[in-house]
C-alpha cells in the first residue's frame, strides 16, 4: 500500500535536514505504528506524505499503490486515497462544518470522476458517521473547528476520515490532548475502518493509544530514521524503558 524508499527531507528554505534515508512499508490491511521521541521527525514524515509545501524532498520516493505521490499536490494525493489526521486541526471561521465536509467529499468525487452527492445522501452519511463518533449535531452547524475543544477537533478529524473513505490513513499524534473517553471514541473510529483493504500509519509518542488501536507492526523513529521494527511488544518495551537506548544508538 504505502512504500517509502530512502527518503531524505529538509526544511524548504533552510539547510536543516530532518529525515535522512528513511525506508518504510505499510501493507494493505496493516496497522503500523511509529513511535519516537520529540524531534525525531515523526510529524515531518506525516506532512511530507500529505504534501505540505514547507519541506523539500532531496532524495527518495513515496509510493501509494506503486505510484510516486511526491509530485502530486495535496488535493491530488487525497483524491487517490490518502488522508492525514492532523495533530493540530485548523479552525476556519465563517465556514460551516457541513459546507466544508460537502466541499471536501464532492471535490474528491469530482477528481475521481464520480457524480456529486445529493444533499439527502450527504446528510445521511454525515449523520451516520457523526452518531458513530458521538458528535452532536450542533457541532456540525458551527464553523469548522472554531471553539471546539482539543478532543472535539480530533473527533472531527476522524469524522472526516470516515466520510472521505481513504485507503491509507496517516494519524499524526491523534492521541495528544485527548482524555481517555475521547481516546476510546477515536480508536473505535479507526477500528471500525480496519479491514483487509485499508491501511493505517499511526504516529504517537505514547504507548497508550496502542492499547486501543492494536498495531500489527511498531517502528521506532529517531533522528530521521527508523531504528527498530518489531511487533506490538516493542511498544510495551518502549513504555518501560523509554527512548534513551535508541537516541544514543542512532
Amino acid at each position: 500500500m504505502l512504500e517509502i524508499n530512502n527518503l531524505h527531507v529538509k526544511i524548504a528554505d533552510e539547510d536543516k535536514v530532518i529525515i535522512r534515508g528513511l525506508t518504510l512499508k505499510v501493507a494493505k490491511g496493516e496497522v503500523a505504528a511509529i513511535m519516537g521521541p520529540n524531534g525525531s521527525g515523526k510529524s515531518t514524515l506525516s506532512y511530507v506524505i500529505a504534501g505540505k509545501p514547507d519541506y523539500e524532498v532531496t532524495d527518495g520516493e513515496v509510493l501509494l499503490d506503486g505510484v510516486n505521490i511526491l509530485e502530486m499536490a495535496p488535493d491530488e494525493r487525497a483524491a487517490v486515497g490518502l488522508f492525514l489526521a492532523f495533530q493540530y486541526p485548523m479552525e476556519i471561521p465563517g465556514v460551516a462544518t457541513m459546507t466544508f465536509l460537502k466541499a471536501a467529499m464532492n471535490a474528491q468525487r469530482k477528481q475521481r470522476g464520480q457524480a456529486e452527492l445529493t444533499t439527502p445522501e450527504f446528510i445521511k452519511r454525515v449523520n451516520a458517521a457523526a452518531e458513530l463518533l458521538g458528535i452532536p449535531k450542533d457541532m456540525l452547524r458551527r464553523p469548522l473547528n472554531v471553539g471546539f475543544s482539543g478532543g472535539e477537533k480530533k473527533r472531527m478529524e476522524i469524522l472526516q476520515m470516515t466520510l472521505l473513505e481513504p485507503k491509507m490513513s496517516v494519524m499524526d499524534e491523534t492521541d495528544s490532548g485527548l482524555d481517555i473517553d475521547a481516546l476510546k471514541i477515536v480508536a473505535e473510529g479507526v477500528n471500525a475502518r480496519r479491514d483487509p483493504e485499508h491501511a493505517f500509519l499511526v504516529i504517537t509518542h505514547y504507548q497508550r493509544l496502542l492499547d486501543y488501536i492494536k498495531p500489527d507492526t511498531v517502528h521506532v523513529m529517531s533522528r530521521g530514521l527508523i531504528v527498530k521494527t518489531g511487533g506490538p511488544e516493542l511498544a510495551l518495551e518502549l513504555e518501560a524503558n523509554g527512548y534513551r537506548d535508541y537516541q544514543s544508538a542512532a
Binding site: 488535493d75 487525497a78 476556519i92 471561521p93 465563517g94 465556514v95 471536501a104 471535490a107 472521505l164
Partner: protein, 447 residues
C-alpha cells in the same frame, strides 16, 4: 505685511469654481448652505496626499478633470438606466430609484411610521428636518462632504416616527449611467426618532467603464433607544471615482450597525463619521472590500465617544486585494474626557493575493478619558498557508480552498447584517467576485 496667497488651482478645481455660480442658481433650495460648503472646498482645494486624511488617496490626482454635474435624466434615459437588474432588487418594502443623482421613482409601500420626501422637493419647500442636515460637527470641514452639500441635486429626507418598528428594509437605488462621464451628488438625511427600528439599504450601481465622479452622503440621526441598521453596496462603474460619506449621530442607548461592501470602481473612498452623543450607545461599523486590477479603495473612519457612559464601538474592516490594487484603512477612535467606560475595538485585516497588491493601514486612538477599554489591530498578509494545506489535504483544489478562505475572511464583516436575504445577496456577490477571479486565473494559465 499682508501677503496674499493665491493657491495654484488644478484644471478640475478651476472648472468647479467657474461652474458653481451658475449651478447653485439652478439647484433647489437656499443658496446659503451651498455657498458655505463651497467656501470649505475653496479653502482647501481638492484634497491631495499632503493632507493627512487623504495621504493615501490623492483625490486631486485622480480627478484630473471635473466631470460635468449630470442634468436631470429624461424619461427615455431613465428607462435605459434602470433596465439592468439590481442585485438588491425586490429587497426593499419601499425602493426609491435615483438616476444620476435625481429621484426618478418610488416602488412599494412606505411603511407606517415612515415619511419619505425626495430631497429636491424638501429643499424647495423648506422641509423642517433640513435644519438638522449637516449638523454633525465631527464631519464639518470634510471636503468630500462639503462638495456634496454644494452640489447636491436630490436624494431623500426620511423620517421614522418614535417607536415605529419598520418592517422590512427601506431601499435606495442609485444608478449612474450615460454616454459620457458625469458627476453626481445625492444626499440622504434619515432622522430616526426615539425607540424606532429601521433598516436602510443603499446600492450604488454604475454601468460600463466610464470615469463617473459620484459623491453621495447619508446622514443618520438616531434618537434615544433607536435601532438602526444600514447596508451600503458599492458597485460603481469600472472607471468611477466614487466618494461616499456616512455620518451618524447617536442618542442614548441607541444601536447602529453599518456594513459597507465595496466591489467596483477605479478609486473609491467611503468615509464614516460616528458620534456617540448620548450615553451607552452601541455601534458596529464594518467594511468588506474586494479589489482587483488597478483599483484603489479607501475606508476612512472617525468614531467619537462624547458621552458618559461612553458606549461600545466595534469596527471590523476586511479587505481582499489582488493584482496591483491598493487598499487603505484609516480609523480613528476619539474618547472625550467625560466619556468614561468607553469600550472601543477596531480591527482592519487585509489579505494580499498578489505580489503587486498594497494595503495602507492607519489605526489611531485619541483617548482623553482614564477609565476606558480601547484597542486596535491592523493586519496585512497573504492567505494562511497552513490553512490552505489543511483544506487541500481534504481533496479541495487550491482555487476552491482559496475561495473558501476568502469568503470566510470577508464574510465576517458581512455577517453582522441581521437581514438574512440581504446578507445572502452580499455573500453571493462575494462568490461572483471569486468566480470571476478563478476565471481570470484560468484564462491566464491558458495563455
Amino acid at each position: 505685511m499682508n501677503a496674499k496667497v493665491t493657491p495654484i488651482r488644478t484644471a478640475a478645481e478651476t472648472a468647479l469654481i467657474e461652474r458653481f455660480p451658475a449651478l447653485k442658481a439652478g439647484l433647489p433650495g437656499p443658496a446659503g448652505p451651498r455657498e458655505q460648503a463651497f467656501a470649505t472646498f475653496m479653502a482647501s482645494g481638492l484634497p491631495n496626499r499632503r493632507v493627512e486624511a487623504w495621504k493615501y488617496t490623492d483625490l486631486r490626482a485622480a480627478m484630473r478633470e471635473a466631470a460635468p454635474l449630470a442634468p436631470k435624466p429624461d424619461a427615455a434615459q431613465t428607462i435605459v438606466a434602470l433596465k439592468g437588474n439590481s442585485p438588491l432588487a425586490g429587497q426593499g418594502v419601499v425602493t426609491l430609484s435615483f438616476v444620476n443623482g435625481y429621484h426618478v421613482g418610488t416602488e412599494g409601500t412606505v411603511p407606517s411610521g415612515v415619511t419619505i420626501v425626495p430631497l429636491a422637493e424638501a429643499l424647495g419647500s423648506g422641509h423642517p428636518l433640513l435644519a438638522r442636515m449637516g449638523t454633525l460637527a465631527l464631519a464639518q470641514g470634510d471636503t468630500a462632504l462639503a462638495l456634496n452639500t454644494a452640489f447636491m441635486t436630490d436624494g431623500a429626507v426620511i423620517h421614522v416616527a418614535a417607536g415605529a418598528e419598520v418592517d422590512g428594509p427601506i431601499a435606495l437605488r442609485f444608478v449612474t449611467a450615460g454616454p459620457s462621464a458625469i458627476a453626481t451628488a445625492a444626499r440622504v438625511l434619515m432622522v430616526v426618532e426615539s425607540g424606532a427600528k429601521v433598516l436602510l439599504v443603499e446600492s450604488h450601481e454604475g454601468q460600463g467603464k466610464l470615469a463617473h465622479q459620484t459623491n453621495t452622503a447619508v446622514e443618520i440621526i438616531a434618537g434615544d433607544g433607536a435601532e438602526v441598521q444600514h447596508v451600503r453596496l458599492g458597485l460603481n462603474s469600472e472607471g468611477a471615482v466614487a466618494l461616499s460619506t456616512l455620518t451618524a449621530d447617536l442618542g442614548a442607548a441607541t444601536s447602529l450597525t453599518s456594513v459597507n461592501v465595496a466591489l467596483t470602481g477605479a478609486m473609491v473612498r467611503h468615509q464614516v463619521y460616528v458620534r456617540f452623543s448620548g450615553g451607552d450607545a452601541r455601534a458596529q461599523i464594518n467594511g468588506a472590500t474586494l479589489l482587483q486590477g488597478q483599483q484603489h479603495a479607501d475606508s476612512t473612519l472617525v468614531v467619537e465617544h462624547a458621552a458618559e457612559p461612553g458606549g461600545e464601538s466595534r469596527e471590523l474592516f476586511r479587505t481582499i486585494i489582488d493584482d496591483e490594487a491598493s487598499g487603505v484603512f484609516q480609523g480613528k477612535i476619539i474618547v472625550q474626557p467625560h466619556a468614561q467606560k468607553t469600550d472601543g475595538r477596531m480591527a482592519s485585516n487585509a489579505v494580499l493575493l498578489s505580489e503587486g497588491a498594497a494595503m495602507y493601514n492607519k489605526p489611531e486612538l485619541e483617548i482623553f478619558a482614564d477609565d476606558v477599554a480601547c484597542a486596535h489591530g491592523a493586519t496585512c498578509g497573504a492567505l494562511d498557508d497552513e490553512l490552505l494545506f489543511y483544506l487541500m489535504s481534504r481533496g479541495i483544489s487550491k482555487a476552491e480552498a482559496e475561495a473558501l478562505m476568502i469568503e470566510s475572511f470577508v464574510g465576517a464583516a458581512i455577517d453582522d447584517i441581521a437581514h438574512e436575504a440581504i446578507r445572502d445577496v452580499l455573500h453571493g456577490l462575494v462568490q461572483d467576485w471569486l468566480k470571476a477571479r478563478a476565471a481570470r486565473i484560468n484564462a491566464g494559465a491558458g495563455v
